[in-house]
């Protein structure tokens, strides 16, 4: 991977880390006006030896990360990738946004139809994941996403595109607007030798460049929003993941830097006309096949990283096959859990009648935080510190369900170790934070209550007595919440 998570790098440095800093001095000087001092030192280093550059790479990657100096205010903007990034890039390079707009559109259209993924941002754990998932869906033509998205992403895409073009050109004219790729490439051709490694722009790299400020914004938002367990765990896992992958990024950058430093001969830049612009690295074949292959590989590695965040226990493993194994196991366990839960639902409700749900709503809501830990990896998954408030209640349903399950299917066996683990894990959590429980309790309370309210609305056969008991029990629930 090029630059692991450019999460907290300022916008200009994200393309920089992608380009691996083969900028010439003039570019560095020009960029230095705009850039963080640390970044400009990083930028000016490419002329020096490779190891120093690599070292500053790694250092700067770490050093810059806590200082997103650009457009600090947009980071607090509403959770939309577009707006935060637009804000940042407007701050950084106002003239370029408009200019590079039209060129930005065709370039990134294929890769970033992520309109619907904005809703991922409601879950802060997915903020950066959504940002990284390029071409996730919609470019298969599904239900009108393709049309909506370029409109959304056209302008923000212009930001990193503009930034990239600006930095690659390395002209003294920082503020000049580059109107189209052709002229950009013409400029690059003129400045070929001084360009260091002339590389084509990589669309996914732009994606990453965009991700940098976007996910920074999202991470800040993540801290601001209160979405309960998922927020907490996602942040922790992301934090851990980011630290580890920053280390990896530093390593990979040092390797790449080693490859790319040295002679200053440039490859003739081919005019980036069409959709996916890939930059051929030094020492690699430049034919279209290997470039496309590389793009594909980088997309895959992006997604593997996201999956690593999701699947618990995947942070330690390195290697595609083992991780895929873990992912497969995880998804299978989830499916088995669904199977098991549906079995439980079937046993609980012999007639499959769910019309009396409002009767049954009562005091269980504050205990609803319990089952959220009923997963295969109870210690590791999100919201693990949520306690089981009533162990007895917990034990008995599990017990009866286990007995129900045992005589039916053999595929319950793999669940047994999971459930033993869960039974054992309940004990440490009994003394857990009750405030966390109440927090999530309210969270779920709203959910289930509103759902049930909707059901009540739809379902008019509720007897008066049951509704009275329902209201009464709701009050008791509220009282319990305040404990």
């Amino acid at each position: 991977m090029n630059c692991g998570p450019p999460d907290q790098l300022p916008p200009a440095s994200a393309p920089s880390c992608f380009l691996n800093l083969n900028w010439n001095q003039s570019m560095a000087a020009a960029a230095g006006d705009h850039l963080d001092p640390a970044l400009s030192s990083m930028v000016s280093s490419p002329a020096s030896n490779s190891t120093a550059a690599a070292a500053t790479d790694g250092l700067a990657l770490h050093g810059i990360s806590p200082q997103p100096q650009y457009g600090g205010t947009p980071l607090s903007s509403p959770p939309k990738l577009n707006l935060s990034m637009m804000g940042q890039f407007h701050h950084y390079q106002p003239p370029h946004v408009g200019g590079a707009g039209p060129s930005g559109l065709p370039i990134l259209e294929n890769l970033m139809p992520m309109g619907h993924l904005d809703q991922f941002l409601a879950d802060p754990g997915f903020a950066e994941r959504a940002a990284r998932l390029s071409g996730f869906d919609g470019h298969t033509g599904g239900s009108g996403y393709g049309g909506a998205v370029p409109g959304q992403f056209g302008l923000p895409d212009a930001g990193p595109v503009g930034a990239l073009k600006e930095l690659e050109l390395g002209n003294g004219r920082d503020e000049s607007s580059v109107s189209d790729p052709a002229s950009a490439s013409a400029e690059m051709a003129l400045k070929g030798p001084s360009d260091g490694n002339a590389k084509k722009r990589k669309a996914s790299g732009k994606g990453k460049g965009k991700d940098g400020p976007g996910s920074t914004a999202a991470k800040d938002l993540a801290k601001d929003e209160s979405s309960g367990k998922r927020c907490k765990s996602a942040d922790e896992s992301n934090g851990a993941e980011d630290n580890s992958s920053k280390g990896k990024a530093a390593q990979s950058n040092s390797e790449n830097g080693g490859k790319k430093q040295g002679k200053d001969t440039s490859k003739p830049p081919e005019p980036p006309k069409d959709y996916i612009h890939v930059r051929a690295r030094r020492g690699e074949a430049t034919d279209s096949h290997s470039l496309a292959e590389r793009v594909r590989r980088e997309k895959i590695s992006q997604r593997m990283k996201l999956l690593q965040d999701l699947v618990p226990g995947c942070n330690k493993v390195v290697g595609k096959a083992v991780m895929l194994d873990e992912i497969i196991n995880y998804v299978q366990s989830l499916q088995r859990q669904v199977e098991f839960l549906s079995m439980k639902l079937a046993t609980v409700n012999p007639q499959l009648d769910f019309n009396n749900l409002p009767n049954l709503l009562p005091k269980d809501i504050h205990q609803s935080c319990g089952p959220l830990q009923n997963s295969h990896f109870p210690l590791e998954t999100s919201g693990a510190p949520l306690p089981y408030l009533n162990q007895t209640h917990q034990g008995s349903p599990l017990g009866c369900s286990l007995t129900n399950g045992m005589d039916n299917q053999s595929n319950m066996h793999p669940l047994d170790p999971a459930f033993c683990r869960q039974m054992n894990s309940q004990h440490p959590f009994l003394n857990g934070a009750s405030d966390a429980a109440s927090q999530v309790g309210t969270f779920w309370q709203d959910d289930l209550q509103s759902v049930v309210h909707m059901d009540i609305g739809q379902n008019q056969e509720i007897p008066a007595t049951s509704s009275n008991s329902y209201n009464g029990s709701l009050q008791t629930v509220h009282m319990k919440m305040e404990l």
Partner: protein
């Protein structure tokens, strides 16, 4: 109840991201709706077997999931399609699979199971001379096997390349997690009620 019709008709289906509260909400709604429909459809004399009920619940849950997720991801669409077709394949595969790769530690078993189950493809690959089993070759082969397994797990994985497969897996896993949580909540609700009514416990 046809899943595809639900998919097309429900307007809010394309909105929620699987990680959000709203998604769980929507899923719960759909689940309750589907369960009621299933209960009404199955005359009380018929679906009395535990298995039948379980299958009905599972089907309702999957339909609710696909509907709540919307038509955006590919797995959602193909899951809905599977459901409307009558879904004969899905449970069988689940039964056949778990023994294969339930143990995360050992790698050979998944390979051998897959060997049995996909003899055609396996034979083609084995025909290649295995003179130099370099590490990279092995890694590639192993990764291929896993990708194949993943394809069979994620609904609609057959027609996807590796890249989209990973993305779909991500979305699918998150949606499954939300589904599980919602179902657990529902279960808690259902289970707590009798206990509340019987203060003796």
């Amino acid at each position: 109840m046809s899943a595809s019709s639900m998919l097309s008709s429900s307007s809010s289906s394309s909105q929620p991201a699987p990680g959000s509260k709203k998604f769980r909400h929507t899923f719960l709604k759909n689940l309750l709706r589907g369960l009621r429909k299933g209960a009404a459809a199955a005359a009380s004399s018929r679906a009395m077997t535990l298995d039948e009920r379980r299958i009905a619940v599972r089907r309702a849950a999957d339909a609710a999931l696909a509907t709540a997720r919307g038509a955006a991801p590919r797995w959602s669409r193909s899951l809905a399609a599977e459901l409307s077709q009558g879904r004969l394949l899905r449970p069988r595969r689940d039964d056949a699979q778990p023994a294969a790769s339930s143990s995360s530690g050992c790698k050979p078993p998944p390979a051998s199971k897959m060997l049995r189950r996909i003899p055609r493809r396996r034979r083609v690959i084995r025909a290649r001379p295995k003179s130099k089993a370099t590490a990279s070759d092995l890694a590639r082969v192993m990764a291929r096997k896993r990708a194949r397994a993943l394809r069979e797990i994620v609904p609609g994985g057959r027609g996807m390349d590796e890249c989209t497969l990973l993305g779909e897996t991500l979305d699918y896993a998150v949606s499954l997690k939300a589904q599980i949580e919602a179902m657990q909540l529902l279960l808690r609700t259902l289970i707590q009620a009798p206990k509340e009514k019987n203060p003796s416990t």
